[in-house]
């Protein structure tokens, strides 16, 4: 029996997943939960003509989320952030961790091997000398993430996965806006993101 069929026959919320959802509490949006359901709808489609592209897209997103978690840790440990900014950084890091956990679980459900965190991301630490440098670095990552999700949404085979990716996109766009605001820049500079 293919792993997709096994997925289709599994409980909608099996025990580990339920535990994960409970652990994640309010961090998970309805769309994010739908992502998990999306696995089932993908499974229900059988393995028809699936070349694993959804799992690859999710894994690429996962690798970027893991880098974001590490980047916020770097910022939090830098000693450059004021307490309120540090709290903000850790909140955003928590969101990225929640995205990463969910993406990893979904990749696994789709039969893939989730990307793992790297031991060294080679961040440009020499350029981070003040709080604004850290904020600008984070804003750049968030802006890139928004574009990456925007580029991924249309290419998912499974529409539920596209919807969940759009939910993450919304969250990361908010991060970008808040970081711009903290930098004294126009928080939302354009009507459309690209």
């Amino acid at each position: 029996m293919s792993s997709f069929l096994k997925l289709a026959q599994a409980d909608v919320l099996d025990a580990p997943r339920r535990a994960f959802l409970e652990r994640s509490g309010g961090l998970l949006s309805a769309s994010a939960i739908a992502l998990m359901a999306g696995c089932e709808s993908l499974a229900a489609k059988n393995a028809m003509a699936d070349d694993g592209s959804d799992a690859r897209i999710l894994n690429t997103a996962l690798a970027a989320e893991l880098e974001a978690v590490a980047a916020y840790q770097l910022g939090a440990d830098s000693g450059l952030l004021q307490p309120a900014t540090q709290r903000l950084a850790l909140t955003f890091q928590g969101h990225h961790r929640a995205h990463a956990d969910l993406l990893a679980a979904t990749v696994r459900k789709l039969g893939g091997a989730p990307a793992q965190p790297k031991s060294d991301y080679g961040f440009p630490v020499e350029r981070l000398k003040a709080q604004d440098d850290v904020l600008r670095f984070a804003a750049q990552l968030e802006k890139g993430a928004v574009s990456a999700y925007l580029g991924a949404v249309p290419v998912f085979e499974d529409r539920q996965l596209a919807k969940a990716a759009a939910s993450i996109l919304g969250d990361e766009a908010m991060h970008w806006a808040v970081l711009r605001h903290a930098l004294g820049e126009e928080p939302v500079p354009v009507a459309f993101v690209a």
Binding site: R56, T60, L141, S147, A148, G151, A152
Partner: protein, 145 residues
């Protein structure tokens, strides 16, 4: 013979056409500077478009995607230390304006199996600007030592 009237016929020709030559020179130089300025505008616009790539790519280091320094003329799937998809390693692509344009238009169609899960850049002008920036920045001494 008309030039028999002067010992230096080219000199009188220059004198007669001096204004035209000056005007032509000015025009050519204006056109050349406009072209340089156009190229510079392309690179600047391309740099802004490159922001979209920054979730996964950097010029000088491998991230979720491979680094872009040394991109032009490089065989796809060949950056040391970066783990590519089998599809990319076997693509046979060598990166240049044409191959980048085709790939950026729709990565997953150009190289089925690529890990770059991205719809692509629809606008030919945006792709052209991005490629102009990549050509400039991927060979820049400031980023790529």
């Amino acid at each position: 013979m008309p030039w028999a009237r002067s010992r230096y016929p080219w000199r009188s020709w220059l004198e007669v056409n001096a204004f035209r030559i000056a005007a032509l020179t000015a025009l050519v130089s204006l056109m050349m500077s406009a072209r340089v300025s156009d190229a510079s505008d392309d690179v600047q616009r391309g740099e802004q478009i490159y922001d979209r790539c920054l979730a996964c790519h950097a010029l000088e280091r491998n991230r979720t995607g491979p680094k872009h320094c040394g991109l032009f003329g490089r065989r796809a799937g060949s950056v040391p230390g970066f783990e590519y998809s089998k599809a990319m390693r076997r693509s046979g692509i060598v990166w240049n304006e044409a191959t980048l344009d085709a790939f950026l238009a729709h990565p997953m169609r150009a190289v089925p199996g690529t890990t770059m899960g991205y719809a692509g850049i629809e606008s030919p002008q945006e792709r052209s600007d991005l490629i102009a920036y990549l050509r400039s920045a991927s060979a820049s001494a400031a980023h790529c030592r």
